[in-house]
């Protein structure tokens, strides 16, 4: 039995059309594009998939927690439809514009409130900020060991065994539980829920906690300050390389690249 908590962040769809992406420079945040619903951060989906696979072999309970100012319940319900047992939303208008530390602190507080757990799973980084810090900070706050960028996660008998990605391969590390692991996409694509499961999950109750339920004062907590958020100007110059035939054009391209010392 491995009881798990999975932290999932709701983000702007990373595949939303670029033309819709806007930054509000004063508020220093990205504006959710109209007509493009938010999604679960992809690496967090992988973390959930890893949790479900562990539950399939070892048994246990999966609790999903998600934090944000306005959460889209239908997309978070998917986690119940694919195999999570409980969904707890940390939803409060005050839960906005946090740095990694504050986010980690709130999540850790919620985890403490949940109580018993063996393994916490997070995505290796959120697809909007790509900071990758919340997981390890949660572990620090809770005083448990953590392993990041896992490509494979196995848990059981009080231990968790992780294959951790490094630039030229992977390490195999084993640590005792309770522990925290952040997942990379190699652990597996999140399965689709069957229609039966979707219909059943739509009727399950969800718990919602606000700042006061957690007893936190988020505004006083930040450890880093966002100075500026902007979209860099991108300029691209495209030079078409011609030739009488396709082969000649190819040769001309090769020569040009050589001239520019690119090859």
């Amino acid at each position: 039995m491995v009881n798990m908590i999975v932290c999932i962040k709701q983000v702007i769809d990373p595949e939303a059309p670029v033309s819709l992406f806007r930054i509000d420079p004063e508020a220093k945040r990205a504006i959710p594009p109209k007509g493009t619903p938010p999604v679960l951060s992809p690496f967090d989906e992988n973390a959930l998939e890893a949790a479900i696979r562990i539950k399939e072999t070892e048994g246990g309970k999966i609790t999903v927690i998600s934090m944000g100012p306005r959460l889209a319940k239908p997309i978070l319900r998917e986690s119940l439809a694919v195999g999570a047992d409980e969904l707890i939303l940390l939803e409060d208008e005050a839960f906005e514009d946090f740095d990694s530390y504050t986010t980690a602190y709130i999540l850790a507080t919620a985890i403490r409130k949940i109580g018993e757990y063996d393994l916490i799973l997070c995505g290796r980084q959120a697809s909007d900020t790509d900071a990758g810090q919340v997981g390890p900070i949660i572990a620090e706050i809770l005083g448990i060991p953590s392993i990041t960028v896992a490509r494979k996660i196995e848990a059981g008998n009080g231990k968790v065994r992780v294959e951790r990605l490094v630039s030229d391969g992977y390490q195999v590390i084993e640590i005792p539980m309770p522990a925290l692991v952040t997942a990379s996409f190699e652990v597996g694509i999140l399965r689709e829920a069957s229609a039966v499961a979707s219909v059943t999950a739509a009727k399950k109750p969800i718990t919602t906690w606000k700042a006061e339920d957690l007893g936190v004062e988020p505004s006083a907590m930040g450890r880093s300050k966002l100075l500026e958020l902007f979209m860099p100007e991108k300029e691209s110059k495209c030079q078409m390389v011609e030739g009488e035939t396709e082969e000649e054009a190819g040769a001309n391209l090769a020569l040009k690249l050589k001239e520019s010392k690119i090859i």
Partner: protein
């Protein structure tokens, strides 16, 4: 005299008559009873609405033989032969009842003897017999000498037996007739053949007693063959004689393009993974199949080398039902009955996944089937099981994308309103006092080539002064791809969301340029309470031209062929209106492809196939472009964004861009109107 009234070696003829009848009828009824019980293993389905209309339609289609005559063309005139066989044999059946049954078995041995009714009726039978014999010979020549494509690979031995049986019945009819009249020493000129044969026999000077004996012999042989035929019918493909009548009567009364919804409230299982998951009507289809092969010969998947054959699908399901049905009947009523699944696996062994996913739902098979079989709903039920229960990987990603993003075009760099930039079109959120909603559709909003069609439509509407609006960002997929790929739960979510939105804006009238959106909004949304007046853009443009609000002035000196989109044509019977529009373009020369209107050849994009890879055989779209090139068209006009996409790619694949362009009708019209 009536042969049953005589005695044979002391045994009364009536005894022989009725014992034989009892045996034959018993064997017949026993088989039919089993078939009915097997059929009733299927799920409930309500096909009992409008009984009066159903009966009338059935009479016209079967007794009027419209079922076959609808398919008669220069290339396939077999329907005429069948009509002769049907009407001819029908007259014989009545004859059997009167002259063998009532006169013979029931003992009314003097009924109509030498009277005018007998003369008239036997004359009719003689002529009918000639027609039937001609039809049989024609059929035999077709089947065994000409060997048309659609008859290849059929159960030819069984077909041969049927032809022989019917042929022998005709021959025996003449023999019985001739010897009967000869034995009565009746010199008659009518019935023509019977009378002539009788005269021939009389002239031979054969003894009266001999004539009577031979007559009796032929009579009993004739009777025996009729009874053998009776026993053979439910054990062969001639079962269609019994099954096709109810099959036509119980055909779907829903709009052609509407699939029946899944009841999500009963989540034990969805779709079909076992033969008994189909409804009784779907199982009746299996009995009604005449094995004519028309569906097989017209199916674009089959013609392009995919393993799917509509005919084989039906026959394999029938074989499977007959194989495992008896075992299922044994456990009926017991606890495990609903999950019992003996024998081969329905999905995987009886029907393979490649077959299930190959279908484009073009409906060619159903339109051509003389037994009014409904192939598509079986494929969709198999898909529903794969998509909603087994979570098949084939459709996992397209379905997920539709669910998460509200459209199937993953990777698009366009937003829903990008196409409308600079065109000054209002969204309903900004201004909802419009007469008409232009439902853009996902493809025409989000796909680079197709946005030009949306722009053309919008420009035409503005030019004509139509007060219209769009949903803009609020528009999400109509849901058709999800439903056709089997993910009905996702479809229903889309439908309910859209209906709520449309009703919140009090939308009454919708025009759309996509036949799939058109079909779904018009024919399927009413299933969920969404009733709107939905018009296809070709219909709307045709109307605007008729009203003089759009004037086609600039000429287009090109040869144009119109490709009938499946969801506009076969699913919704709209064939002529788009053609009227094209014909109205000045200087344009219109040519028709061989496969047009009801016989049109699918582009390959329907049935969710737009989002699935085509890895087996040839590309359906390229086959159709070959047909376009064959008629030397310079422009192929389309009315559907999938057709547009498929043809753009196919033209490039064939490197035919220099000589052939694909354009939507809206684009053609836009190029011709005064601006």
């Amino acid at each position: 005299m009536s042969p049953p009234s005589a005695s044979y070696l002391g045994v009364p003829g009536y005894a022989i008559f009725w014992v034989l009848f009892a045996i034959a009828f018993g064997l017949f009824a026993h088989r039919v009873y089993l078939l009915i019980r097997l059929m009733l293993l299927g799920q409930k389905e309500n096909r009992f609405d409008s009984i009066g209309y159903r009966i009338i339609y059935m009479l016209v289609a079967t007794f009027g033989q419209w079922c076959n005559l609808k398919n008669v063309s220069r290339k396939d005139r077999a329907g005429i032969a069948h009509a002769f066989m049907f009407w001819g044999f029908g007259l014989f059946l009545i004859g059997y009842f009167i002259f063998i049954g009532v006169r013979g078995g029931f003992g009314f041995s003097t009924l109509f003897v030498d009277g005018s009714f007998e003369k008239v009726y036997f004359s009719i039978l003689d002529i009918a017999g000639l027609f039937v014999v001609t039809a049989l010979i024609w059929a035999a020549i077709r089947r065994y000498i000409i060997k048309p494509e659609r008859l290849k690979g059929q159960i030819t031995a069984e077909a041969g037996v049927i032809l022989l049986l019917v042929f022998s019945l005709m021959v025996f009819h003449f023999c019985v007739e001739g010897f009967d009249y000869a034995a009565r020493d009746a010199s008659v000129s009518w019935p023509p053949i019977g009378g002539a044969f009788a005269s021939f026999l009389v002239d031979r000077g054969i003894a009266q007693g001999t004539l009577e004996s031979v007559f009796k012999g032929f009579w009993w042989l004739h009777y025996a063959i009729i009874l053998s035929f009776l026993v053979f019918i439910p054990r062969s493909k001639h079962l269609h004689i019994l099954a096709s009548f109810p099959n036509v009567a119980f055909k779907s009364s829903s709009p052609k393009g509407a699939l029946k919804p899944v009841d999500l409230e009963k989540p034990e299982t969805f779709g079909a993974s076992k033969i008994q998951d189909f409804s009784w009507k779907q199982l009746l289809d299996l009995y009604a199949c005449t094995v004519c092969g028309r569906c097989h010969a017209i199916c674009p998947a089959q013609l392009s080398g995919k393993p799917l054959s509509p005919r084989e699908l039906i026959l394999n399901l029938k074989e499977h039902l007959l194989e495992v049905g008896p075992e299922l009947l044994k456990v009926r009523g017991e606890a495990e009955a609903s999950s019992a699944n003996p024998g081969k696996a329905l999905i995987g062994e009886v029907v393979t996944e490649d077959e299930i996913w190959a279908c484009t739902t073009c409906r060619a098979c159903q339109e051509v089937c003389p037994a009014y079989n409904e192939h598509i709903d079986k494929i969709i039920d198999l898909r529903r099981n794969l998509a909603m229960v087994s979570m098949s990987e084939t459709v996992r990603d397209p379905l997920k994308n539709l669910r998460v993003r509200g459209h199937p075009w993953r990777g698009t760099t366009l937003a829903r309103t990008d196409w409308a930039e600079g065109l000054d079109i209002k969204t309903l959120a900004e201004y909802d006092d419009v007469d008409l909603l232009y439902w853009v559709g996902c493809t025409e909003a989000l796909e680079d080539r197709s946005i030009k069609v949306a722009q053309a439509v919008a420009k035409l509407l503005k030019l004509a002064g139509v007060n219209f609006g769009i949903l803009g960002d609020e528009e999400i997929c109509c849901g058709d791809p999800a439903r056709r790929m089997g993910g009905d739960h996702i479809f229903q979510l889309q439908a309910q969301t859209n209906i709520e939105l449309l009703q919140s804006y009090n939308v009454k009238k919708i025009v759309t340029a996509c036949p799939h959106c058109f079909n779904t909004l018009k024919n399927e949304y009413p299933q969920f309470g969404g009733e709107f007046e939905v018009i296809h853009h070709t219909q709307f443009i045709a109307d605007l031209i008729k009203q003089g609000r759009l004037k086609l002035t600039t000429g287009l000196e090109q040869t144009i062929t119109y490709h009938d989109a499946c969801y506009l044509g076969r699913h919704n019977d709209i064939y002529e209106t788009p053609r009227e529009v094209v014909k109205g373009i000045p200087q344009a020369k219109m040519v028709e492809m061989e496969r047009n209107r009801k016989g049109s050849f699918c582009c390959g994009g329907g049935g969710g196939r737009m989002w699935l890879e085509e890895r087996i055989g040839k590309r359906i779209s390229e086959m159709r472009i070959d047909q376009v090139i064959e008629v030397k068209a310079q422009i192929v006009a389309t009315a559907c964004p999938y057709c547009l996409q498929m043809f753009e790619d196919a033209i490039k694949a064939k490197a035919a861009q220099e000589s052939l362009t694909v354009m939507d009708i809206a684009e053609i019209v836009e190029g011709s109107v005064v601006h």
